[in-house]
């Protein structure tokens, strides 16, 4: 690593925070419909949508109503993507003549895009028509991100609300966030990407003659528009199979920087938005600091492992699976961020990372996608950990725990625990099941500890709604397509439903004034404890599996054995 690379990381963080802060205020205002200027610009479009769909935005929903609307909306989204895939052959915008998709794969893909996971068992350019990509996947890229933010907004309202069990209007929330935030932002990023060379066309694949004289088909398509939202909405599902490692999806270091920036932009902005929505900015800053610290430690560890590994393997940089135009640092920076942020897009193949760097990537996802996490999803996941920490701290100081002035009681703890542990349970059960099924093991491309990492990564990625792949695992089998889809569903809705339930029960509570006996949640002490709870819960759950995967692999590699 040289000075240039270090300063680039610092520049990246600085730019990120610099942009996310005002964006956070903008997001909060958009969700609460507070800004007059925003209303003037976007109001007419929104009102048109409301009128067309017969939505009364004044209607406030309790948590059950909100959850019902959310589920209904997600089922519709699922059906749309599912059916588009099955019937794409008969539909327009299919210049490459992609055929119908086998149902298990279609099911997996539909669930994947509905849950903001964007796990892809298929190769986009060879399997899906342009229509399916644009009308199915790209639309879900927007709506799944908006769904995450809606849950976050509802939870923020519930936590800071004053004795009302109403937590907002789901339809208004997704409409506002899509129209006011996602569309303008992705339009802007799409233009930037177009400018740096990402393709955007309806033309079929270009066929060129190579030096050898053979014909090669170069996949094209409306990529820039999908890539912008894929990064902005922490979706991660690439237009091309190689995702952002593909030269037409991420051609230059500049496009790489823009994509990395948009990858963490909204998750960080959501933290600022939370501070603004609850009127407790210092607390939000502590949350952000906790996220940054865990992220930075992971990044440091991964970089150290990459660069120290190179000395065992002949001194050259570990370039297998990485693009020469990005180099090691940018590939690792992306890998750590994309796994922290539940994005799942990649610009290098994670399977080729040094074992510990790959382990950091897995562990980031295992922590529950709360280190920034998905758009909205990262914050609501983090808030579950905050509630758990508040509970433990409350016990330690001899007082029924309080958060933002409200008592945290049995029901909230029950829900928080469910939301935190359900994804972890799915990872362990899924990975263990895979080890027990011989046919599932035949999908592995590597043996030994690296194979175990492939399995763990796949299940973590699905249940954490990350969507990135370790590469190497052939996941397009009925076992993985169905199993991983179930993992995605549990990983998404077993967190969302508890979050909404908490929003409902906390919303109805009477906030009590702070006193010296209340434990403040906006101090570094609380931050340290929160970080400790996150890492300890994740570490205790997954230490044995990581020991047999990434850790033993790294140790073996240092002894000269690679997988």
């Amino acid at each position: 690593m040289n000075k240039f690379e270090v300063s680039q990381i610092i520049f990246y963080i600085t730019t990120l925070v610099f942009l996310a802060r005002p964006l956070g205020s903008y997001v909060a205002d958009a969700l609460e419909a507070k800004s007059v200027a925003q209303g003037r610009i976007f109001g007419p479009i929104e009102n048109l949508i409301y009128r067309l769909c017969g939505i009364n935005t004044g209607e406030q929903m309790n948590w059950k109503g909100y959850a019902g609307a959310l589920l209904a909306f997600n089922v519709l989204g699922f059906l749309a993507v599912f059916l588009l895939q099955l019937f794409q052959r008969y539909l327009p915008l299919n210049p490459n003549g992609s055929g119908p998709i086998e149902w298990a794969l279609a099911f997996n893909t539909a669930v994947s895009f509905m849950t903001n996971t964007n796990w892809q068992s298929y190769a986009g350019e060879t399997t899906l028509s342009y229509l399916t990509q644009m009308l199915g996947l790209t639309v879900q890229n927007f709506l799944s991100a908006a769904t995450g933010v809606a849950v976050f907004a509802a939870l923020a309202r519930g936590l800071s609300g004053k004795q009302t069990s109403n937590i907002g209007n789901f339809w208004a929330d997704i409409t506002r966030f899509t129209i006011r935030v996602l569309l303008p932002l992705s339009l802007f990023v799409a233009l930037l990407l177009l400018g740096s060379g990402v393709v955007q066309t309806f033309k079929p694949n270009a066929v060129v003659k190579t030096l050898e004289g053979a014909g090669q088909a170069i996949p094209l398509g409306p990529a820039a528009s999908q890539i912008a939202i894929k990064q902005i909405g922490t979706n991660g599902g690439g237009f091309f199979n190689a995702n952002s490692a593909h030269p037409l999806e991420n051609p230059t270091p500049l496009s790489n920087f823009i994509e990395m920036l948009s990858l963490l932009l909204l998750p960080v902005a959501c933290v600022f938005a939370y501070g603004r929505m609850t009127g407790n900015k210092r607390h939000a800053h502590i949350l952000l600091l906790v996220m940054f610290t865990i992220w930075a430690v992971g990044l440091g560890l991964a970089l150290y492992s990459e660069y120290s590994a190179s000395s065992t393997i002949g001194g050259s940089a570990l370039m297998e699976g990485k693009e020469t135009r990005f180099g090691v640092t940018n590939s690792v920076l992306w890998a750590v961020s994309t796994t922290a942020a539940s994005n799942g897009s990649v610009n290098a193949m994670h399977s080729s990372l040094s074992p510990i760097a790959g382990g950091v990537a897995i562990f980031n996802i295992m922590l529950g996608e709360v280190i920034f996490g998905g758009v909205g999803a990262g914050m609501y996941g983090m808030l579950l950990f905050v509630l758990l920490t508040v509970f433990l701290c409350g016990l330690m100081v001899g007082r029924t725990p309080e958060y933002l002035g409200k008592k945290v009681e049995k029901r909230e703890i029950q829900m928080a625990i469910l939301g935190i542990l359900a994804p972890s349970a799915v990872i362990l059960v899924g990975a263990a099941l895979t080890c027990a099924v011989t046919s599932a093991l035949s999908s592995l491309s590597a043996k030994g500890p690296h194979g175990l990492s492939e399995i763990l990564y796949a299940w973590s990625s699905a249940s954490g709604n990350n969507g990135s792949a370790f590469a190497g695992l052939n996941a397009n089998t009925a076992f993985y397509n169905i199993g991983l889809a179930i993992a995605m569903l549990i990983g998404r809705f077993a967190v969302i439903i508890p979050c909404l339930a908490i929003a409902g029960s906390m919303g109805g509570k009477l906030p009590c004034p702070l006193s010296a006996g209340t434990l403040p949640t906006d101090t570094p002490t609380f931050g340290v404890l929160l970080a400790a709870v996150i890492v300890v819960v994740g570490g205790l759950t997954f230490f044995p599996s990581l020991a047999l995967g990434a850790i033993v692999e790294q140790l073996l590699m240092l002894k000269g054995a690679a997988f």
Partner: protein
Amino acid sequence: MKDKNFWNKDLVSTAVLESFIKLNPKTQFRKPVMFVTLVGAAMVTAGIIQKLPHYSGFEFQIALWLWFTVLFANFAEAMAEGHGKARAESLRKSKVEILARLLENGKETKVPASQLRKGDTVVCEAGDPIPGDGEVIEGIASVDESAITGESAPVIRESGGDRSAVTGGTKVISDRIVVRISADPGQSFVDRMIALIENASRQKTPNEIALNLVLSALTIVFLLAVGSLKLFADYSATAGGQDLSAIVTVPVLVSLLVCLIPTTIGGLLSAIGIAGMDRLVQRNVIAKSGRAVEAAGDIDVLMLDKTGTITLGNRMASAFVPALGVTEQELAEAAQLASLADETPEGRSIVVLAKTKFQLRAKELHPHEARFIPFSASTQFSGVELLDTERKPARKILKGAIAAIKVECGGKFPSELDKAQAGISNQGGTPLAVIDNGRVLGLIHLKDIVKGGIKERFSQLRKMGIKTVMITGDNPLTAAAIAAEAGVDDFMAQATPESKLARIRLEQASGRLVAMTGDGTNDAPALAQADVAVTMNTGTQAAREAGNMVDLDSNPTKLIEIVETGKQLLMTRGSLTTFSIANDIAKYFAIIPAVFGALYAVNGGAGPLSVLNVMRLHSPQSAILSAIIFNALIIVALIPLALRGVKYIAVDAQTLLRRNMFIYGLGGIVVPFIGIKLLDMLISAVGLVG
């Protein structure tokens, strides 16, 4: 809890027996963590029995320590119950079957006390035990309540007023009273107290339930982690072309599981709850539910009666303010004379003040020398008429309320004293004027005396984040002065039952939890509204019914100790939970390298994961055994802490958190590393395993 009684021989032997009785799976099922341990122990034992007559000493020892883990947890619970039962037993002795003198239609019949029903009236005379809880409806008597309170001085109980409640099991020492029984058998305070101690384990408080949920969830996660580890191990063994079946066995996996699940807190949880109740009873407080004790730890506002809590019960003379041309000594002398026969505390305090200030010894006045004028509500003064040798009135000294003396002096009230009396009132005092043969000599300043040390208690409470509110019937000026002197945060002057109730509702509406002490019937509505209501045992039956705790010592500052007990209860649970989870780190570092140290080893050398053996434990088997032994022994080691509670100090929440995190969090990480290493050295030295 005194140390010498702690490991009492009888208690321990009973507890050991109880530990085995509690192995009943039905009992264990309520404690998910210990239930899993029990099932694990049974599984390992069954495995050993299956393989008999061949057996492995290692597996046998694991089974043994797994059983010990369960037994130790049972022992902790039994110890806590034992301490409580000992107390209940001594209470029960006060309930020996007594014959009550039931009064029916004016006729007395003797019936066993257990047959008394609510509403019956009984007669008690000197020497009679009071057969049940009730209210004095006729007469006055002194009662020995030492059986309940431990306080040997008898107390007065009389009909009407605020001292009419009597408790069953106490004894009348003088006079005769008629008592209306207010509780059916099995419902009296002593019954409730015994039930509370004995059943503390059965009723779970909200916080305990929430903690239990967290512990159960952790247990499930560790079950999954260990269960999946078996499959990951099989996969790795196949991949490495190795056979790990000798070490990845059921006993080893069960050991790992039991080490990881929070057995420390799981085993001690119910003991902590029982001990918390017991600590309260030791302080002579009966809580009607565990919920109330827990709520006490959350109190934001404390409403305290001024009289008897913040100030000594009575006003005391604190200064003499002479009129112009009168010396202070003259005034003191006259005031003393006027108060000689005044047996009220105020009168006595005047005599004492004159004596301490001017060494004026109280004169012995004989009836032929003086005639005393007693205080009456209509005259508003008291005093003395000194007689001359012919027994004719020679000098008349009176002391009394300003208004009465103004009438008495015929309007010649010195103007400077008018100013002075206003000053005294402003300071929260009460002025009395002294008049000698129609000449006003000056004023006596009577004031409330704030109890010693009370200010420090309030500042402690403030640090804990609890606001204190003084309730008084005084006028606002007086109240403000006393409030300032006592250091309370707020006061309620001219309080009425309605205004007290309204104040509590107001505080509650803004999200605060309110505690209150009270004793009078007029306090009952407010007591019923408060979240934590402590009634004095001397209080009326109505008040005692309205409150959710009864203080047998009738000491209103007891509320502060109740708050501490409530907080201590939660803190002990929290600290041991943290400790328990922090311990897992060391256990992983003991067991994972022990089980997988040989994985992917080349040519029989040490495998890569053996570098995780940072404690350099002797062998895989000794490592696993040390971890499981440590896990069992730590339960026993922490029993005293669980029963005594984590030390509470009055500081703000953040400081307290840092302190407890440092001790139990960091300590929880470090201690097992040392403990497991030491056990490993011992095991390998003795040669328990290879």
